[in-house]
């Protein structure tokens, strides 16, 4: 409605106003203090360089976040090109008569503590972090982009140069592994 109201940039205030917010946004996505710090710094630098592109339609914070998002994707892409050390564990037989069936030790178990274990809990958050951390880089990246950052499927495919069926295979494997990890570390321990 207030289309006349233009936002302006004030970089001298950025640290004070947005450093914490941007850092928080980043740390939940990259899970490494120094990398998050660098990404926030680069975002501010790009912001200063690109001031002329700011049209004042979005708030300063929204504008900075849009720069940051791009930085995070670039970062994901970088770690994607380095070969990941962690492996995806197979949960289903990949060939033979039982192709596509659960491998016995990977069959989902009943969660014994299901009722008592609250899903809003700091301890749980650290288990989730740990389990997400154990995913191979590429899987973690796609999983986080889709699940936490809620990017559109097509957007991720374009950014990373993968097909949507690739994407869903990755999401599938990531979630199967994540479920097992959560079972082992949270519910049934």
């Amino acid at each position: 409605m207030s289309s006349n109201k233009k936002h302006t940039l004030n970089p001298t205030k950025w640290i004070e106003l947005y450093a914490d917010y941007l850092f928080n946004y980043t740390i939940t996505r990259v899970n490494n203090h120094d990398i998050a710090k660098d990404l926030v710094q680069e975002t501010f630098f790009s912001g200063i360089k690109g001031q002329d592109n700011f049209r004042g339609q979005a708030s300063e914070r929204t504008w900075l976040i849009s720069i940051l998002k791009r930085k995070i994707i670039d970062h994901y892409r970088k770690i994607n090109s380095a070969k990941g050390k962690k492996e995806v564990r197979m949960s289903f037989y990949s060939d033979g008569e039982r192709k596509g069936s659960w491998i016995e030790e990977c069959v989902p178990q009943n969660w014994v503590n299901e009722a008592e274990k609250s899903i809003e809990n700091d301890e749980l958050k650290s288990v989730l972090n740990k389990c997400i951390d154990h995913l191979p880089d590429k899987y973690r990246m796609v999983f986080l982009l889709k699940t936490i950052q809620e990017y559109e499927t097509q957007e991720i495919c374009n950014e990373l140069g993968i097909t949507s069926s690739n994407l869903w295979v990755i999401i599938h494997r990531a979630r199967v592994q994540l479920r097992k990890c959560i079972e082992e570390n949270w519910f049934n321990n």
Binding site: W14, A36, Q41, F44, I48, E120, L128, W168, R175, L178
Partner: protein, 83 residues
């Protein structure tokens, strides 16, 4: 009938509301007959809920120190001068 691998893949896709109607039909049929995948499906919903809370429950224990902010501030001011 689809395999457990395929069924759970559809189940995963469905967590994002992107499984087709035909996929969901095949999934539901599989779930009628397969106890393991039924367990998976139920737990998958719980995990989705957990992940929904994931960003909200940020405990604030991870933040930039004041010194880091000062260094950043100096760098930023230099960058502004260059501009």
């Amino acid at each position: 009938m689809i395999s457990c691998d395929e069924a759970t893949a559809i189940c995963d896709k469905n967590q994002y509301g992107e499984a087709s109607r035909w996929d969901k039909l095949r999934l539901n049929f599989h779930l009628l007959l397969c106890k393991h995948c039924k367990t998976y499906s139920k737990q998958n919903n719980i995990i989705t809920k957990m992940l929904g809370n994931y960003l909200d429950t940020c405990d604030g224990s991870k933040h930039l120190s004041n010194e880091e902010k000062k260094v950043l501030d100096i760098k930023l001011h230099e960058a502004m001068k260059k501009k």
